[in-house]
Structures are given as structure tokens and as C-alpha cells.
Amino acid sequence: MLKFLSKYPPLKQLKMSFGVQRFMLILGLSIVSFFILVAIFADFIAPYGFAQLQYENGEYFGSQIAPGGSHIWGTTVGGFDVFSRVVYGTRTAIAVIVVAVILSILVGVLLGLLSGYFAGWLDRILVLVADAVYAFPSLLLAISLSIVISGGRSGFWSGILAAGLSITVIFIPQYYRAMRAETLRIKQEAFVESAQVLGASSFRILFRHIFRNATRTLPIIFTLNASEAILTLAGLGFLGFGIDPTMGAEWGYDLNRSVADVSAGIWWTSIFPGSAIVLVVLGITLVGESLNDLADPRLRKRQVAEIE
């Protein structure tokens, strides 16, 4: 099993790496796995629900209670338990990454393949549109889209979908560009030409011959996008365009609510959700950076073989 998996990223790179690079990759992978586990087992880890305001006996938590006692990270101005909201926020964050990245890979890769292979006017228009979207301030685009998709405020899954889709549009050009460039390169190869001569269908050539050979840059863009997705989601939440607090926990929204707390010296409502964002993005970025370094021969260092 491990041997089979070791042909694929990031395990393949793990074998290639050593020293500082290996350390960065392992650190990143550990952080990411930790958060995935937290997201899966959120129900067991969090002492309270993300929208819970009362104890079982009907008594309210109270707002802005300092960390300690039955609320290890305190409570927010709205009277939520900070720890539980941070734990459940992991679930929201990972759901958004999955939605955003899967959608943008699907659309971006398909457009890139078609555009690079068939060229012509479709290619020109797509390049122009992709460049325009790429230059657009991404947060502004995400804001506009989230207004459209959800009217600004929404439930858990519709909120996830809204945030995911808003982010997708920003990412599609990146996958599109990478895939198009790869397709243009591979199209010139002899094996594609021989497939064409043998009468293989365009579909078969695209997916069997080109796509299989063009996926090498995808893991890198994937990790870069995943971290950007978290930051965009948090930014949307911070501006009040995230998920309704009673529908799901979202770190950016919690930070937005804590701005006023900060001036009063109440630190626990911002430090914990903020640190969660930083850690997740840090973990994903560490993985991405390492993959990038290992893929770029200018930045890769090889282990010096011991000569006996």
C-alpha cells in the first residue's frame, strides 16, 4: 500500500527530500493532518455546540468570560464558547477548501486542455478572459460573487458553496494557465502525433495521452490555492459575508466580532480563531513550498552520496 502510494505526491517528494526541506514538508504535513483529524472528530472534541449559548440546565454561558473553568478559551461577545467555535471552524474551513479546489480543478483543467489542444479563437478569448480575471482583486471578486450566490448571508452548506464558488472563479485561471501551457508543450511530443496518426479520438488523446503527462504542476497550485481559499473565506467572514454564526462556525466572522473586544483588552476572542487560520495556512503553505522547491531543479538540493 505504502509502496503504491509513494509514487504520488506528496509521498513521492518526501522520499526525494532531505534536511531542512524534509523537515518543512513533514512539519507541514503534520499540521494539515492534525487539522483534518480535528475536523473529522469535531463532535467529540468540542465540549459545546458552535451555536450553543446555554448549559444543559438552561443557564446562559455569559459573554466575554475570561479563559478558565468550564470555558478553557473563554466566551465571545455573543456568548459562544470560543474553543468549540474554533474546533467547528476547522470543519467549515476544510469543507470550503474541498469545494473550491475540486470545482476549480475540474473547470480549469478541462478548459486548459481544450484551449491548449484545439487552439484557435476559443483559445484567444479564454486567455484574454483568464488574464482579466487573474488581474482582478480576488477579494473584491469573491465579495461580489457571494452577494450573488447567497445574498451575503446564509446557512452552512449554502454558505460553504457560496464561499467555495466565489473562490473557484479566482482559481480557475491559475489551473487553466498551467494546464494550457503543459498541453501546448506535450502536444508537440512524438507520442501525441503517433496517436493522431493511429486515428485515436481527440477525447482519448486529451485524457489518456496529454492529461496524464500534464498533471505535474497541479499539486503545487493545489496547495497554494488551498491556503488562499482559507484566507479568502476568512476575509469574506471578516467583512460579514461568511456563514451565519448560528449555521456554522467560521473563524473570519469570529474575528470580525472581536475587533471591538481588542480595544478593551479582551484578547481571547481574537487570538484563538486567528491562530487557527495562521496554523492551517502555514501547514498547507509549508507543504506547497516544499513541493515547489523539489519540482524546481534550480531550488532543489540533492543529497551528496557517500563514497566509500
Binding site: A135, L255, S263, L286
Partner: protein, 347 residues
């Protein structure tokens, strides 16, 4: 798209072509904004829905012309933008272009400070990391760069506030300037709105100090984000130039190491850096919205956030379209600068 110029083509032709490309780019951007913002329906229902009766709503919609065919409205919108009219806000009836004049300067001032912070922090650190490649210094600096990127600007802002305005109260919590200085500044006749310039014009040291104190935390918050990008960029590009043969040649001729790093290797590394610096403008604008909200810095981003929460989507559409045009124009300028700096582009 940056380097379509081949060896034979003239710089002028390249610039002309690049200039013509602005128009389709802007057209696509403003169309995108229009499509996105109008997919749901008309802005009046969005702003007033639920507050007014159906008849009143219909009256307003008819008065504003939102009940006409969408294509007619689209062409009207394009014609208006072509003549520099980005619409009028619903909530306070202000032309969006005027908003840019009033609040754009504040955003420009913030962007200016944070670019300075980014250069001061990012460039030397990037050079150092490249020179000390694969040592502990390099690892530490790269970790710093990743952290600067991984921390949302508003969280950096909140942390800075907690430390430097609440725990050790040496800097103001929010705002562009204190009340007393604001009154002093408002007396200035030909005010630019760029508070530092205005304060210097006023010649009042207290006001200058006040303006600078207010600027520190927001510009560090926004600047660090960009500094991380600069650090990584300078490092990667310097590593490849430092490996080049001509650097070895220069070194063997006895040119001091410091000069090698800051001059010989730095200059060729600068070209890709300029391109990315230009692209940072888009990132900076997005970051400005968040930074301005965190620090109540009354710029264009702060206004945008206000209009967003007031559900004034005419204002949002106008501001976003306007910002998109600004980004397109900046990218054009950057391409020109790259063409002028890069010796490989021939006249």
C-alpha cells in the same frame, strides 16, 4: 503577455499593442462586474426589500429604470463608464467617481506607507536569505515570509493593536489622525487629503507626529503581507542569478561579496520582481479593504465595506468596477516599465 516583443519589433509597436489591449481587458472586467452584480436582480430590491411595500418598491425600480431589458441597461452602463461615470450611490446619492476623489487619497496614502514597509523589510531580507541559502538564517527568514503570508492582515492588525495600543499604549488604536490634528488639518486651504503632505504644509510638528503615529500600525499590518511576497521573490530570483557564471567571473576578479549581492546579482533579478510588484497592487487593494476596516482608516476600502453592510450594491458595483479599471491601468504601466528596464527589449 508581458513580452510579446520579438527581437525585430520596435518598442513603440509593442507599447501601442499593449495599450490597445487595455480596452478589451477593461471591457471584460466591467462586464464581469455587471453580470455578477445583476445576476440576482435589481439593486433596489436588494437594498430595500422587506422594508417597503411591493408598490413602493416597483415605483422606485421603474423610476431608476431597472425594469427595462437587461441588455439596454448593459449598454447604458458601458456608455456611462466610457464617459467616466461609475454610477451614483443609493444610500447617500454620491457619484462613485467623487468617492474616489475623496477617499482614494487615504487608500493611496496607506498603500504608499505599506509599500515602503514592504521594501524595507522584504528586499534586504530576501537578499540575505539568498546569500545564506540553506542555512539557519535562510530557514528562519523563509519561515517569516510564510508566516507573513499565512496571517490574515486583519489578524496582524488585531495583534498589533493588542500589543502596541492596549498592552503597551504607545500608539493610537484606530483612525487616520487625532481629533485635534484633524481640526488643525481642516483649516488648511489647498488640502490634498494626503495627511502627511498636508501636515508638512501646515508646518505643525505635533500634527506631523500625530499623522505618522496613526499610520504605523496599519502600514505595518498591510506592509508585512507584501514584504513576505517580496522576500520570497527576491530570494528565488537572486538564487538563480547568484549561480550564474558571470557572478563567478566577477568574484574571481575580486569584487567584494556585498557588491556582488547588492549590485551584480540584484539588477538582473529585478526584472521579474518589477512585474510581480505591479501585480501586488491587486493584492494590496484587497488587503486595503480589510486593513481599513480593522483600523477604521477612512479610505475607499472602508467605504466599500460600509456600502456592503448597507447593501448599497450600486455603490459596490461602481467602486469595484472603478478599482478593476485602476488595476488594469497599473498593469499596463508595469508592462511599460519592464519593457523600458529590460535591455532585451529592443527599440
Amino acid at each position: 503577455m508581458a513580452k510579446t516583443a520579438t527581437a525585430g519589433s520596435s518598442l513603440l509597436r509593442y507599447l501601442g499593442l499593449r495599450f490597445l489591449l487595455i480596452f478589451p481587458t477593461i471591457w471584460i472586467l466591467v462586464t464581469m462586474v455587471f453580470v455578477v452584480m445583476r445576476l440576482v436582480g435589481d439593486p433596489i430590491t436588494a437594498a430595500q426589500g422587506g422594508k417597503l411595500s411591493a408598490e413602493q418598491l416597483q415605483e422606485l425600480i421603474t423610476a431608476a429604470g431597472y425594469d427595462r431589458p437587461i441588455l439596454v441597461q448593459y449598454f447604458e452602463y458601458l456608455a456611462a463608464i466610457a464617459s467616466g461615470d461609475f454610477g451614483t450611490t443609493l444610500t447617500n446619492n454620491q457619484p462613485v467617481v467623487e468617492l474616489l476623489a475623496t477617499y482614494g487619497v487615504a487608500t493611496l496614502e496607506l498603500a504608499f506607507y505599506s509599500l515602503i514597509v514592504a521594501f524595507i523589510v522584504g528586499f534586504p531580507m530576501g537578499m540575505l536569505a539568498a546569500r545564506r541559502r540553506d542555512t539557519a538564517t535562510d530557514a528562519g527568514l523563509r519561515l517569516f515570509a510564510i508566516l507573513a503570508y499565512a496571517t490574515p492582515v486583519f489578524f496582524v492588525g488585531l495583534l498589533l493593536k493588542l500589543v502596541f495600543a492596549v498592552a503597551i499604549p504607545i500608539l493610537p488604536v484606530a483612525g487616520r489622525v487625532g481629533v485635534r490634528s484633524e481640526i488643525a488639518l481642516s483649516k488648511l486651504e489647498d488640502a490634498t487629503g494626503f495627511y502627511l503632505i498636508d501636515a508638512i504644509k501646515l508646518g505643525n510638528n505635533e500634527v506631523i507626529l500625530d499623522v505618522l503615529q496613526h499610520a504605523v500600525l496599519p502600514s505595518v499590518a498591510l506592509g508585512l503581507l507584501t514584504a513576505g511576497v517580496f522576500l520570497r521573490l527576491v530570494r528565488t530570483n537572486m538564487i538563480s542569478t547568484l549561480n550564474a557564471d558571470y557572478i563567478d567571473a566577477a568574484r574571481s576578479r575580486g569584487i567584494p561579496e556585498v557588491q556582488l549581492v547588492t549590485k551584480n546579482a540584484f539588477r538582473p533579478a529585478l526584472i521579474p520582481i518589477i512585474t510581480v510588484v505591479g501585480m501586488q497592487i491587486a493584492l494590496l487593494l484587497g488587503g486595503a479593504v480589510l486593513t481599513e476596516t480593522t483600523f477604521e482608516w477612512k479610505g475607499l476600502g472602508f467605504q466599500l465595506a460600509e456600502y456592503l453592510s448597507a447593501r448599497d450594491y450600486v455603490a459596490v458595483q461602481g467602486i469595484v468596477a472603478l478599482l478593476a479599471v485602476i488595476v488594469a491601468l497599473t498593469n499596463f504601466l508595469v508592462d511599460i516599465i519592464v519593457a523600458l528596464v529590460d535591455p532585451r527589449v529592443k527599440f
